[in-house]
Every structure is written in structure tokens, then in C-alpha cells.
């Protein structure tokens, strides 16, 4: 059990959302709706695991991933990072997040810092590395994701693909125990997803522990050891890619796979 990197135990998270304006106008009021995004989900991730979560949009995958990094605080259940329980009151979440890399769907680079500045910041301020050391490691991370040509550019001056690779560099630079990636390619133009996928493939080869929310099926088939079908706040089915690409057990997964594969081949 020593190689357990992260674990979620019966994690539950609900939030209130206002019904979309159009619908609200037609009934004359703005009722609030409780959305149960994560309903008692449990998941274990061991060192070197590459797991991929997929499922319909709005099913709560991203919320679950944010809960894992304690960016959203779960209502119930526990999150463990190694032996440490993060959901216990008084847990040092900042220290924990320093050991968890997170890559956002909409990238969220710090707009006032260059690529180098974005990667360096946590090394200097969180790991407290001396200046040269931080710079060396930041440059190494940027080299690894192959964006050395824009180290001195600001986010606004980069393409989406470059920006997202800088986002990945920011996550890996401090050698986290695990990297959580929330649909890292879905906000990018189709022709730019390739470069980000290549970067992720490289990370997979090096044995990086990763939990990825993604719909990139060819990529999933190639690198994921386990795929997790997530729908309506629950893990519906898990298994190796071969299972999902051939014959998933549940009807819902079957339907979803057919839809998504048709879409991919059409493109």
C-alpha cells in the first residue's frame, strides 16, 4: 500500500446553480437548483498510474477533479494525499497543493508574468528555492514541454497550444506527486491540440502519475492504463481502454462510446 499516491473516499459535492437566464425568464423567477456533481465517489491512484476520466459534459468530472486538488472543498468524504488526509480540519492545503500539479481547461496562466515567470513563481514562493536553482528548474520544465521559444512572452502573446504547454510546465516544474489535468485540450483550436497531446504523451512515457479528464480517445487508447466512465456524479464503469473500445458492460457507456467514436471518425 505504500505506493498509493492519492485516494478519494466517498467524496460528495453539491452546489447551487441558477437556472439559465432564458428558462428563468419564461417562468418569471430565478429558482435555484441543487446540482449533485459528485455523489460518493471513491478512487485510488498508485504511483505511475495514468487514469483517464471521461463522460458527458456537465456530469461533474471537473468538479471531482477540483475536489481532488481541494480547489473545491468536498461536502462529505475524504481525500488522501499519500498518508495525509486533506479533508481533515487543519490540514495544510497549501503544502498539499504544492505536491499536486493542476492543469486547467482554460489554462489560467498568470497574465502579468512571462512564461518563465509563470513557472518560476511557485518554485520561488512555495518551494523557496534560490533564484538560480528556480530558474534552472523552470527552464528545464519549459524545455521539456518544448516552449523554449516563448519563455519571455506574456500569455497574451502565445498561441493557445503554447499557453497550455506552459500551463503544464507550471504544473510539473515542482516535481509533484501527481498531475491532475482538467480537459487540457478542449478549449484549444483542433489544430493546436496535437502539440499538447504530444507533450502529455512524453510525460506518460516518463512514468508521470496522472489523472486526466479528457475526450481525446486515440490518446486515451494509447496511454491510459485505466479509463473511468463518469456520468451524473458517479463512476459508472472502469476498465482498460480495450474494454471500452470493444464492448463496455453498461449501456450508458456503450451509447457514449458510440457517439464519441462516430464524432471522431467524422472529423
Amino acid at each position: 500500500m505504500t505506493d498509493l499516491v492519492m485516494e478519494a473516499r466517498n467524496v460528495y459535492k453539491a452546489y447551487h446553480s441558477k437556472i439559465k437566464k432564458k428558462e428563468a425568464d419564461s417562468c418569471g423567477e430565478t429558482p435555484k437548483q441543487v446540482v449533485e456533481a459528485v455523489k460518493n465517489v471513491s478512487l485510488q491512484i498508485r504511483k505511475g498510474d495514468i487514469k483517464l476520466i471521461f463522460g458527458p459534459s456537465g456530469s461533474g468530472k471537473s468538479t471531482f477533479l477540483r475536489c481532488m486538488a481541494m480547489l473545491d472543498i468536498p461536502d462529505k468524504g475524504e481525500i488522501y494525499l499519500g498518508a495525509e488526509c486533506l479533508t481533515k480540519p487543519g490540514a495544510d492545503l497549501n503544502k498539499a497543493r504544492a505536491r499536486i500539479g493542476f492543469v486547467f481547461q482554460h489554462i489560467y496562466l498568470f497574465r502579468h508574468l512571462t512564461a518563465l515567470g509563470n513557472v518560476e513563481l511557485a518554485l520561488r514562493q512555495v518551494l523557496k528555492l534560490p533564484k538560480e536553482e528556480a530558474r534552472k528548474r523552470a527552464l528545464a520544465a519549459l524545455t521539456e514541454v518544448k516552449v523554449t521559444d516563448c519563455i519571455n512572452k506574456y500569455p497574451a502573446q502565445m498561441s493557445g497550444g503554447q499557453a497550455q504547454r506552459v500551463g503544464i510546465a507550471r504544473a510539473i516544474a515542482r516535481n509533484p506527486d501527481i498531475i491532475l489535468l482538467d480537459e487540457p485540450t478542449s478549449a484549444l483550436d483542433p489544430e493546436l491540440t496535437g502539440e499538447v497531446i504530444d507533450t502529455l504523451r512524453d510525460l506518460a512515457k516518463e512514468g508521470t502519475t496522472m489523472l486526466i479528464v479528457s475526450h481525446e480517445m486515440p490518446f486515451a487508447r494509447e496511454v491510459a492504463e485505466e479509463m473511468i466512465f463518469y456520468d451524473e456524479g458517479k463512476i459508472v464503469e472502469t476498465g482498460p481502454p480495450s474494454l471500452f473500445f470493444n464492448a463496455p458492460n453498461t449501456d450508458r457507456a456503450k451509447q457514449f462510446m458510440t457517439r464519441i467514436i462516430n464524432r471522431t471518425t467524422r472529423e
Binding site: R97, F104, Y108, F110, L121, Y154, R174
Partner: protein, 217 residues
């Protein structure tokens, strides 16, 4: 007195005008910045900040100066019997209320996702604010800060009521020198004020726009 003598006399008031406005602007930053973040991120005490803003945006600066200088000065000679202190204090607190609103708009403009990204790399809330939000908030609010500084230069004219000899007071003194020139002192002082406010607001605005474009805000 000819025009040049009058101008020289008025220019003698400019250092005081500038030092009051600079000092109160700095006090305004020191108050406004923390208040804005408290109001944005500490919902339980946000009402205190809003009350502070209401008071200092709802009572005339002149009345506050009269209150602190003539009202509290005799009771607490230190520090309220010092007119310069009262001037910077009142305008600084007022500017803090204004700047708090300016920064709050900027915090909204910079966006929550920047905060989330900051926390995701392991920074604590207040360190994320310091390293991620504050620099961007300043870039975002240059135009507002430019006009706030111009406002402070103009409002420093109010210190006439507590007898500090800055530009406005000097103009009134000039008017009172027999035989009494009612034209030149006020025209000149208006021109001087415009000369003081124009370049600052203008250049801050331009610098801010350039900078904003660069970082894509």
C-alpha cells in the same frame, strides 16, 4: 506686483500642494488595497469596509478637516493640531475609500480564475493575492488611479480652510494684497492646477493601456 511676481508667489505653494497629494495618495493605497481584498474575499466583514467607504464618500472633505482640526485638535493636540497632518490624514482616508472601489472593480476584472490558479500551485490565499492579484490589479486600475491622483491635487485646495499655504491659499492671499487683483491670481492658479493634473492622469492612462494590452487584460 506684475504677473511674474504673482506667478513666483503662487509657485511657492506648489510644493505643499504636491506633498499633500502624494502623501494622501500613498495613504490611500495603503488603506484601499487591503480593504478591497477584504471586501472581495472576506465576506463576513465586508459590511465594515462598505460602511467605511460610505462615510468617507458621504461627508465633505472640508467638514472632515474642520472636524479634525478645530474639533479634535484642542482635545488631542497631537496629532490633530498639525494642519499638514490633518490634511494628509483626511484626504488619505477619503482616497482609501475611493481606491478601495477602484481596486474592487479591478479584482472583478482580473477574475477569480487567476486566484484559483494561484492557489493551485500551492500559494496560500494571501500570498496568491500578493503575487498574482496585486500586480494585475495595479495594471488594471491605472486609469482610475490617474484620475484619483488628479482628484487629490484638486482636493488639496480644500486645505485652505485649515490655513495651509498651498496654491489655493496663496491665490487668496494674493487677491487680498492692496489694491486687490481679482483676476490674475485665480486665473494663474487655475492654469497651474491644470498643468499639475493634466500630465499625470494622461501619462498614467497611456502607460496603463500599453501595459494592459501587453498582458492581455
Amino acid at each position: 506686483m506684475d504677473v511674474w511676481q504673482q506667478l513666483t508667489f503662487l509657485l511657492g505653494g506648489v510644493p505643499l500642494t504636491l506633498s499633500i497629494s502624494v502623501l494622501s495618495f500613498l495613504i490611500g493605497i495603503a488603506i484601499g488595497l487591503p480593504l478591497a481584498f477584504v471586501r472581495a474575499y472576506e465576506k463576513e466583514v465586508a459590511f465594515l469596509v462598505s460602511a467605511y467607504e460610505k462615510v468617507f464618500r458621504g461627508v465633505p472633505e472640508i467638514v472632515l478637516m474642520l472636524l479634525f482640526y478645530f474639533g479634535l485638535g484642542p482635545i488631542f493636540p497631537f496629532p490633530f493640531s498639525n494642519a499638514f497632518f490633518v490634511a494628509a490624514f483626511v484626504l488619505g482616508l477619503r482616497s482609501g475609500a475611493n481606491q478601495s472601489q477602484i481596486y474592487r472593480g479591478a479584482i472583478r476584472g482580473v477574475g477569480d480564475e487567476q486566484m484559483i490558479a494561484g492557489v493551485s500551485i500551492g500559494l496560500s490565499k494571501w500570498r496568491a493575492i500578493w503575487h498574482i492579484m496585486v500586480p494585475q490589479v495595479f495594471n488594471y486600475s491605472t486609469a482610475g488611479l490617474g484620475s484619483e491622483y488628479a482628484l487629490l491635487i484638486k482636493d488639496s485646495a480644500y486645505v485652505y480652510v485649515i490655513g495651509l499655504a498651498e496654491l489655493m491659499t496663496k491665490a487668496i492671499q494674493l487677491k487680498s494684497i492692496p489694491p486687490g487683483d481679482f483676476v490674475t491670481p485665480f486665473v494663474l492658479s487655475a492654469v497651474l492646477y491644470i498643468a499639475l493634473t493634466f500630465p499625470i492622469a494622461f501619462s498614467l492612462d497611456r502607460w496603463g493601456n500599453k501595459r494592459k494590452k501587453k498582458i492581455g487584460l
